[in-house]
């Protein structure tokens, strides 16, 4: 297991190097000028040239790339071209709300979609199954921003149960945190609830047709034990894969939810950075997100061994 883990970590190095080169070139080839974002629309060419020079943007691309990679290897991701603050400090300011939102959304996803998927499979073809599948189609079809606005309109504007926008950290108390995170969490979770409940249902249906399930039933075991102890555990691998990649997708795809609910997270930070052509900030966010993807995929693979004793890594 340890050598497998080490091998996977080493394999991540060329992946990250490729991503670093790709994103660096992509950004430099994209039209736009960070100096203009600093100086504003009405700046003169001399002002823009002076700013470019002070930021080192007048240097050859190869020098800029090597300087960036060299600093990064030493743990220095550079400063924002626009605000002149260390990019890791800026990411540090904004990662908390995004992680909180993604975690709550993932918890809601697991808590809601697993029982729904199991129920739908258990009552395959029945009313419950049709209801769950209809909900799933709805979750897939309605964009997150529409779900967000509908939730705000009903629960914040009309019923006044929740605030219309904003974020409070856990440090301010569990109540305040949940009060502000439930609606955006649910909005973000909606599409994943649809996805995971469908995946759970399909996976469970496949497993419920297996011989050992029939044997378990023939032995007189209750539905609960058959479903949760025998079937769900064996159906878990595809579900784990979807849940794991879903979490990574949530972290990198929360921008709409953060915008609708005004949550100061990474999603909004990266949009801001792209609009201002803040190269070091965009590069750092993409690299760290890519790193998170690699790590999450590795953890998913390792978790297979925990759920299925037949899987062993060497």
């Amino acid at each position: 297991m340890a050598s497998y883990f080490l091998r996977r970590v080493l394999m991540a190095v060329p992946v990250m190097a490729f991503i670093a080169l790709f994103i660096f070139l992509l950004l430099r080839l994209t039209p736009g000028d960070p100096a203009q974002a600093i100086a504003g629309d009405h700046a003169t060419p001399q002002q823009l040239a002076a700013i470019r020079e002070s930021l080192g943007l007048d240097q050859p691309l190869a020098s800029q790339f090597l300087a960036w990679v060299g600093d990064m290897i030493l743990g220095d991701f550079g400063k924002s071209l626009i605000s002149q603050r260390p990019v890791l400090e800026m990411i540090g300011q904004r990662i908390g709300p995004t992680l909180a939102l993604a975690s709550v959304a993932m918890m809601l996803t697991v808590l809601i979609s697993l029982p729904l998927g199991v129920l739908a499979a258990w009552r395959h073809g029945g009313l419950i199954d049709r209801f769950v599948m209809s909900l799933s189609v709805l979750g897939f079809s309605v964009p997150i921003f529409v779900i967000g606005y509908v939730l705000i309109s009903i629960f914040a504007v009309n019923l006044k149960w929740f605030p219309v926008q904003g974020y409070k950290p856990l440090a301010e108390g569990l109540g305040a945190f949940l009060h502000r995170i439930v609606l955006p969490g649910f909005a973000l979770a909606s599409i994943y609830i649809a996805l995971v409940s469908r995946m759970t249902r399909a996976s469970m249906l496949e497993v419920l047709g297996e011989d050992y399930v029939r044997t378990a039933r023939a032995k007189g075991l209750s539905d609960r034990i058959v479903l949760f102890r025998h079937a769900l555990r064996n159906a878990a691998i595809p579900i784990l894969t979807v849940v794991g990649t879903g979490f990574a997708m949530m972290i990198s795809g929360v921008v709409v939810t953060e915008t609708v609910f005004n949550i100061p997270g990474i999603g909004r930070l990266v949009v801001e950075a792209v609009l201002a052509r803040d190269y070091p900030l965009i590069q750092a966010i993409i690299l760290l997100t890519a790193g998170a993807y690699v790590l999450i995929n590795l953890l998913i693979d390792l978790s297979y061994a925990l759920t299925d004793p037949r899987i062993r890594y060497k």
Binding site: L48, E53, P86, Q93, Q165, L170, N262
Partner: protein, 526 residues
């Protein structure tokens, strides 16, 4: 552990604790500003949001009152009889936010930095023989040749007002941003609560001594009646409106016109213009590339375009826009109707004139590349309407859609269209940044590489601008400004596409909001 990773960890912890600050018994004004505050240096940036931030933290030697007159602010002044020597005496009690006293040498360094970054400031310095501190409290500007705009420029509220800062900050090298926000203005910037592009926090400067005169725009007493002002960035307007209705925010600086009906039905919310001056939408021709290197073709395009149609498209409600010929803004002292013949008549008759002019111009059918910013609501629709009008007149037009950042970058190049150049685009300017020929960058007729995009060249305009600088009476200035305006129309410097008014919305619990050339946070109470 590297410094970077330590700062990352520290920032994460600090951010967590800041979100969790307990509610204090203080008056906090929560405001959604018209744009995110991404940079802080109000001398290096020409953006309106950075200028407004500048007025929170920094102060100016002179302020501009509601009658467009320069008035003492940080300093009182005297002018010699020959108007060649200006003496400024700092008033008592001025302190920087770090507790040190404001000295004349700080102001000298600040004026120099401002002048190096501002076009009008550079023009002023070209007329200055000496700028020096004669004592801790007094500085003197001695002119080498007549320049009638010294006071107006030192009081100008936009673009790039001459903000005063400590000498050590004012001596920051050219092109480099000042990131330490130490001013002497009525608010202090709270650096550790600043999240670039998301939130900026200001607290009342308890050491600030306001002037005794009544507040008038950026002149007079800057009385701060709230403890804290929090600027929030909300990229989604519907979210901002929800937050205003629920009381999470007190003021939205700029509401999109189509969402105003949502607010008008709410008794707890008022809407109106708090920025006394509007913004002029301008269609800029590239004078260096065909077909708009031909003045006849530019004239044909000016007749084809229609102010009312363009404003209807972008703003919709006639209550919020004005149509006038004045290139300096519709309601400023220099406003005149010179050149209005290019805008007069119905859209139909003007189209006939456009066709006639285009035919006579020798236009060879070369396509016009019109840049369209798709991510800026106020400028995204005009290119579509303008392109149709130009096509109707006989132009071939290609609309190139792009984001605003790309447009901003592309507009700076004068290469042929096939090599990434351009022919025409729309932008807008706050009237406070165009209200006379010195500050109005679009009326620069030098045609030089260092001029603002478009590069019109006209020697007579340059002569007149020089004459305007030397003029010392308003009547003289009006005559000169009028002639410049007429030439700018005849030569097609740009198309004036009308003036719109931004509309703010605020909760009725807010008192003392006063109109100004920008959103003013002194005088406001909650």
């Amino acid at each position: 552990m590297s410094i970077q990773f330590r700062s990352f960890a520290a920032a994460t912890l600090v951010a967590g604790s800041l979100y969790g600050l307990p509610a204090l018994a203080e008056t906090t004004l929560n405001v959604v500003m018209q744009a995110p505050l991404r940079t802080l240096d109000p001398i290096l940036s020409t953006a309106q949001i950075v200028r407004t931030h500048g007025f929170m933290v920094f102060d100016t030697l002179l302020g501009m009152d509601a009658k467009y007159n320069p008035q003492p602010q940080m300093a009182d002044y005297t002018v010699s009889a020959d108007k060649m020597t200006y003496t400024f005496t700092l008033r008592d009690g001025l302190k920087w936010h770090d507790g040190t006293p404001v000295k004349a040498e700080d102001c000298v360094a600040s004026i120099k930095r401002w002048a190096a970054n501002d076009g009008a400031g550079r023009t002023m310095m070209a007329h200055v023989a000496a700028l020096e501190a004669t004592s801790d409290k007094q500085l003197v500007i001695r002119l080498s040749k007549p320049f009638g705009q010294v006071l107006e420029l030192l009081a100008k509220p936009s673009p790039v007002p001459p903000f005063m800062m400590p000498k050590r900050l004012a001596e920051t090298p050219s092109g480099q941003q000042v990131t330490e926000m130490v001013g002497s203005g009525p608010f202090r910037f709270v650096a550790d609560q600043y999240r670039p592009g998301d939130q900026a926090v200001y607290v009342r400067n308890k050491d600030y001594v306001p002037r005794s005169e009544p507040m008038s725009w950026t002149a007079g007493g800057k009385l701060v009646n709230v403890d804290k002002v929090v600027w929030k960035s909300m990229p989604d307007m519907q979210t901002s409106i929800n937050a205003l209705q629920s009381g999470d925010v007190d003021l939205i600086e700029q509401v999109t016109i189509d969402l105003l009906p949502l607010l008008k039905a709410n008794d707890e919310i008022k809407t109106g213009a708090i920025n006394a001056l509007g913004s002029q939408v301008t269609g800029r021709f590239n004078h260096r590339q065909p077909p708009f290197d031909n003045p006849k073709v530019r004239q044909a395009a000016m007749y084809a375009l229609d102010q009312d149609q363009l404003m209807q498209t972008a703003i919709g409600d006639g209550e919020f826009y004005k149509l006038c010929a004045s290139l300096y803004g519709c309601d400023v002292p220099l406003a005149s109707d010179a050149g209005s013949e290019y805008l007069a008549g119905s859209a139909k008759t003007r189209m006939a004139k456009a066709r006639e002019l285009l035919k006579a111009s020798g236009y060879d059918g070369k396509p016009v590349l019109m840049m369209q910013p798709t991510d800026l609501t106020v400028l995204s629709t005009q290119p579509i309407v303008a392109a149709e009008r130009l096509r109707e007149a006989g132009f071939k037009v290609e609309v190139a859609s792009m984001d605003w950042a790309t447009l901003q970058s592309r507009k700076n190049g004068w290469q042929p269209v096939a090599q990434g150049g351009w022919n025409f685009f729309f932008t807008y300017w706050g009237v406070s940044g165009i209200w006379n020929p010195v500050v109005h960058a679009m009326l620069d007729g030098s045609g030089s590489d260092t001029a603002w995009s478009g590069w019109p060249r006209n020697a007579r305009v340059e002569e007149l601008r020089t004459a305007y600088i030397a003029a010392t009476t308003l009547d003289e200035q009006k005559t000169i400004a009028r002639e410049i305006q007429q030439i700018a129309f005849d030569e097609g410097f740009y198309f004036n596409a009308g003036e719109f008014q931004s509309v703010a919305a605020w909760r009725t619990s807010l008192k003392g909001l006063q109109p100004g050339p920008l959103t003013l946070f002194w005088g406001v109470a909650k």
